[in-house]
Amino acid sequence: MKRVLLFILIFALALSLVGAKIPKDTLVIAANTGILITLDPGAVYEVLGAVIVGALYDKLVDFEVVNGTLTPVPELAERWEISEDGKTYTFYLRKGIKFSSGNELTADDVVFSFKRYLLMGKPSSWLLPEIGINKDNMDETIRKIDDYTVQLVFDKPYSPNIVLGILTNSFGGIVDKKEVLKHEVNGDLGEKWLTDHSAGSGPYVLVSWERNQHVILQANENYWKGAPRIKRIIFRDVPETTNQRLMLEKGDVDIAWNLIPQDLEELKSNPDIKIATFPGHGNEYVAVNCGWGPFKDPRVRLAIKYAINYDEIINDVMLGYAIKVQGLVLKGYQCYYPKNPFKQDIEKAKKLLAEAGYPNGFEVELMTTDTDRRKNEAVKIQADLAKIGIKVNVVIMKGSQMYPKYRKQGHQMVLAGWGSDYPDPDNYAKPFADYTVHQLAWRNMWYDDYASLLAKKGGFERDPVKRCQIYEDLTEYWFMNGPFAILYQFVEYFAYRKELKNFEEAFVGYSAKTPDFTKLYKE
């Protein structure tokens, strides 16, 4: 027995390697790459996929965080003009930008990229049609004026922040038309090839994507803003968050992508590790179905909002990794309205219930998905509502089961979240207040014409000051009448090695803005 143990030990020691440390010009990221489906800008819709695509391709415009607010800035388009009627956008491209293939980027590539995206009809393909450009009208609405000028014509005079915000999505990444068409098979517009190859002008090129193993990017030495200092980026597939943490602490990876708040709390004591947090692009809410029993009465809806203890949810369930934002517009967005009128007030909630004719409360079913976080939140809400006499039965199901039910208005009460598709107040005002867009307000049967009117008006207002006033009015009205209690705004968080510099600058705005890896370097 002893001999065997000794043998095993010697064998292991003899074989063991001194872990090869990461070179200074290489960045290794531990992430769950199992969620990746494609790295084609015209098709990608997953957050991690968008991050990688963001490093491979440039867009006409991008976002930058100016004074804490996401603001559109020029990228491939050095400037743009908006017509008098607010429907036609003319983009003037920078001259002399080369794709990694060496081809020059021109208006043809821009027109091709947008049309290609519309023709492919992928999960993100409803974004541009939302503002009036679709595959039926694209020959008239996406126009090349000359080699360096492109015009986009939208159906209505949307607020510019909406239009530009939608264009910063992954599909706005411009592909190299000649290179892509070279690899076209059976008229697929190069989709099969572009799934795991790149043809962009961005700071990096895709070297390889070994599914469920790694994605490797190499610096584009001819990048028009200058060659990046980090020459190689490796996304290692580490699905298990505990392993991400171990590998980070050991120095085998530079960034851990999918940690949970518990990990971060424990990592705080490690001097080699830094933690960065950014306001996220989504929120968590409880909604009641206004078509169901007691919830038809706005006073009952208000009672629910006063019964919830928001601070406890943020501090106990989320360990503080969440922002208290109760309004329609997220922090970091234009027209953010920093008023949070609701805090737990049991007396007030009870009074409202009594006025509505439910002094003894009632019984209701709350549905939610099966993550630990949601379960904890649901239990908390159950306890809070019990204090005003409402008996909540929590029903846990898979998201794929819950959403169809939700879409059919088949619930009484729901605990869910909403994520941005473009960082603009409109992306919250419409779904949460305008039932005519058949989104969250409609699902919760809140058929309120005044709220719908304001939400629509905000979407067309081009004067920023007037626009913010509209959203402020809408939010105030929605607080008192709407079916939603926003629990918090998400926070994005990462842990990284202290050798990595400029992390905050590179990642600010994540994930509405993909990280700018060119800003990173190692010491």
């Binding site: 489906i37 050991k250 794929s400 598709d421």
Partner: protein, 336 residues
Amino acid sequence: MNLLNFIVRRLLLMVLVLFGVLCIVFIIANVIPADPIGALLGGNAPPEVVDEYKKKLGLDKPLAERFVSYLLGVLRGDLGVSFRTNRPVLEDIKKFFPATMELAIAATILSVILGIWLGVASAVNRNKGIDHFARVFSILGVSMPVFWTGLLLLLIFYYKLDILPGPGRLDIFLTPPKRITGSIVIDSLLTGNWEALKNGLLHLIMPAFVLGYSATASIARITRASMLDVLRQEYITTARSKGLEERKVVRNHALRNALIPTVTIIGLTFGSLLEGAVLTETVFSWPGLGRYITNGYLVLDYPAVMGGTLYIAFIYSLVNLIVDIIYAFLDPRMRV
């Protein structure tokens, strides 16, 4: 003739079993009250897009029609196209299966060696230290969740002691061998890439041990019981009374006979290793079929889940068939 007859009969039976698996998998995947489109598009997509997608993936057709077209596809060797990756499922399986197979084989080898050794040692040294150790070891083996064992071993051998590599199949900065069979060990042997071979073997140790742990435990228990049984037989007493060395008695006389039930167990555990790979693959970032099926399941990618399950069922029945044929070949009584 008899043997051939047996094989043909078994093959027909296997086809029947696979058809049964296909039916069950298809029904389970298609009647559960969940919506793959919702999972695929997320919560934000407008309803019109949802309907359009449904049409695009053929989910608006009646169930019977979908079943027939799936069955015809399978007969042609076409497992359909994944909703998620938009690639043929069979192509994906070919890519991921070798990693799972390599892990399952390594786990089998490890558990057979360790299990038999432990079983024999504890039978021979009954109620002594090693026997007690083996008992505790086995109980832990069948009761500890794979997930937890895996993380614990990583914490000790990778993070604290630093003698074994972390998750993955190879170090990230190492050039992998050229893909021939898809197994790192075999490919690096074939191409003479010794660095990759050494690294690949090191990466195999922990996941193979974790995956094979419960199999090791059951093999050890079975071997011990059957060994004790055999050691009580009269021919062992005879051997001993002839003055044979105890070591020779155990190795040459007892073990050979004691191993028969063990072989049965090994055949059976191989199947459970394939299915157990799902968790082990997640803990050890192992790019195998288990993770492919899990990822598919998370977004209700039915073609991927059905194809992967069917493929594993196929391999499992194939292995069982081979085991049975070997038995039949060895022991004519089995051919009935």
